[in-house]
């Protein structure tokens, strides 16, 4: 079974790498969608059907499109003249590497404490269950998220609103 995991992981990581490394911004965005799709598949692999589909719907359907729009609106679609990287990118890379080292180290050394994945039976979670949970136990977070989304909506509109000429 973990064979599938390897493939999906490879796909996701490749997508992520591409998204970070490619020179052309739009290609980056497209690669990002690949990474998202890989993640969604990973979710499905983890029996998180709803989360997986939500991932596809929101990230590929909305966020990716949003990114693409932003790229086009900021004329970022044509490949930049100079280097695609900011000043002294190596430093950043090193730091990222350090982070990965720490995380990986932590994961590998805590395998013993982690719950053994193989034993736990596949949970059967229907969408109805999730709905019930959302409406009962997680109703407060739900409300808060709703509020946040509304605020974000309005905020985004106001921020990106095209202010009248002359008010510049």
């Amino acid at each position: 079974m973990s064979f599938v995991l390897y493939i999906l992981a490879a796909l996701t990581v490749a997508g992520g790498l591409a998204a970070v490394l490619l020179k052309n911004t739009v290609h980056c965005a497209l690669a990002l969608t690949v990474a998202f799709a890989g993640l969604a598949l990973l979710f499905l692999e983890l029996d998180a059907q709803f989360a997986g589909f939500a991932q596809i719907l929101i990230y590929i359907g909305a966020v990716a499109i949003l990114v693409v729009f932003a790229i086009l609106l900021t004329r970022g679609s044509e490949t930049p003249k100079g280097s695609a990287y900011s000043h002294s990118p190596l430093v950043g890379l090193v730091i990222a590497a350090c982070v990965f080292a720490v995380l990986g180290w932590a994961v590998l050394h805590s395998t013993a404490q982690l719950p053994p994945g193989t034993t736990s039976a596949t949970p059967t979670v229907t969408v109805a269950d999730i709905g019930n949970a959302l409406m009962t136990r997680y109703v407060l977070p739900l409300e808060i998220v709703a509020l946040l989304l509304t605020a974000a909506l309005i905020g985004a509109v106001i921020v990106a609103m095209h202010e009248k000429e002359g008010s510049r």
């Binding site: 900011s86 950043g92 730091i95 350090c98 180290w105």
Partner: protein, 675 residues
Amino acid sequence: MAGPLWLIPTVPIVASGVIALLKQPRRKLASNLAIGSMVFSLLLSLVAFAHVLSGWMHGALVRETSNFTWIHVGTTPLDLGWVLDPLSAVMLVMVTFVGLLIFIYSTGYMAHDENYTRFFCFLSLFAGAMLGVVIANSILLLFMCWELVGLTSYLLIGFWYLKPSAAAAAKKAFLTTRVGDVFFLLGIVWLFGQTGTLLFYHGGAGSMETHALTALLLERSAFGLSAATAIGLLIFAGAAGKSGQFPLHVWLPDAMEGPTPVSALIHAATMVAAGVYLIARVYPLMQAGMPAGGTTTALSVVTWVGAFTALFAALIAVAQNDIKRILAYSTVSQLGYMMAGLGVGGVAVGMFHLITHAFFKALLFMGAGSVIHGCHEEQDVRRMGGLRSRMPLTFGTYAVGMMALSGVPILFSGFWSKDGILEAAQHFRLSKGPFYMLVFGALLTAFYMTRQVSYVFFGSYRGHAHPHESPKSMTLPLAILAFFAVALGAIGTPAWPWFRGFLNSTPVAFGLSGFDEPGLLALMGTSTVVVFIGLGLGWWLYGNKSPHADQPDVLEAAAPPIWNALRDRLYIDEFYGATVIAFYWWWAKVADWLDRDIWGGAVAGVSWLFKLGARLNRFLDANVVDGTFDKGCEEISVGGGLLSRMQSGRVQTYLRLLALAVVLLAVILIWSSRA
């Protein structure tokens, strides 16, 4: 049925909320919203009324409550709730109906006001609050709505707040009623403390039910009054404040600065009646421990105050020249009648007069409004006259209202309701005083109304404007109200005391047997005679002759000092000015002086000392410290310059530092956990 009762007040309040959000130009929408909400409330109230009615038909006492706990303060729950019983049902219908008519009327009256939407916002807010007062089953809820009503009244009196007089009147009304409300609040707290419940009726556990009342009776307090009496009196103080009983009546005449529909709705029909309603609501408390046929301290106080107010205000009304002020004082006096009626005759008598009065007084005020509107904002009766022909519709309806108010026999509702009060007063045990006061008041009422009408409608026109009849939206409500001013009498005649039976939920039968009660016919005779004397007197003095605005009034010519006294409202305001206000002014002065001279002086002294110290310090600084200090400063600034290099303003630099810090933190944590 008691469940959805809360909708009745809520809908207008919501409507007002919506209206508050509307922009100025959406006038039509605003008024439609307000009226629509009112219609809704009216329909709902009618349903409620029908419910109660059917219950009564089946001979059952309908008193449905729906209570719930609002919040817990510590461990004691604060309960709110609403009650549906004959009292509230009748009141609901009256308030919503009159309110609706007045709303419609205002669309015509305020048509040219640029704050139209604000007006309707306040108006429907008021309606909602008033309805809340009516349905409240918890004295706390009642008090909240009570205050809300006060607030809206304040807002509406001061609606034209650019007029200084209006602003002042608003303030006056607010403060004066507040005096009463303080006592009211005390009463509430005491009641709550004694009975431990805020609810009036709660299936035997309410504060208006026998269990609590007996407890209250046993409880003794100052002056040997029972707690029941004391609380009753406190609550009565509140009621007096709202419905302008004698010591606290001063605000009501000034309240006429508000737009006329407001005067009609708030200061004639509904809000001022709230006090009476409150007394009716807590009537069990008032009459707790009443011996058979006797009375209680609280009730006798109510009676005396009421009767006195009735007479006193009627006297003042005789000598007023502002059309609305006359009506205002007559309102005060009628409220006195209601109070007296409550005091001597029980709920039904007082409430009946309240209802009829609500209709014909609203009618009169709106008529007055229509007159004012027609004469282009002229309010002095001496500058009117002869409007009989110019605005016939207004005249007809106004005449009906006037006759109802002065109690012209048989035909008009005012006669029956007032008659009931007089009859009850006649049987008042303690003294005949109230009875005579009330009778004399009745005479005066007839007199001053005749005076006003003949000033306004008869003789020849003495103003300079061109009076014209008002639009349909104003005259139509007048007509409707006029109809009711006549018709309502039918439900309270001794022949068929339907109203009384309904409120006391006892069956009634039609029959002339009601009349052969001893002395009843005689009483009706006297009151009739009295009324006609009043009318005749008025007509003889003022009828159809049109004195000039500057020439003195007939009575003034007769007895100047009395006239002046009456015209200046018996100097009550001046008296308050000389006592209460003067005291506050003086106290403010004192406080100011203390502040300025005593504390101020002390502060000044201290600061002077500090200044001295500072000078010394500066001398030391300048010559000793500086040398070394400056050096240090230079060092620091150099260091700062070095540090500021890092603030390149590049986001990613910060981001990197952040990440680095996280890594270091993690490493440290791991390390420490291992070691």
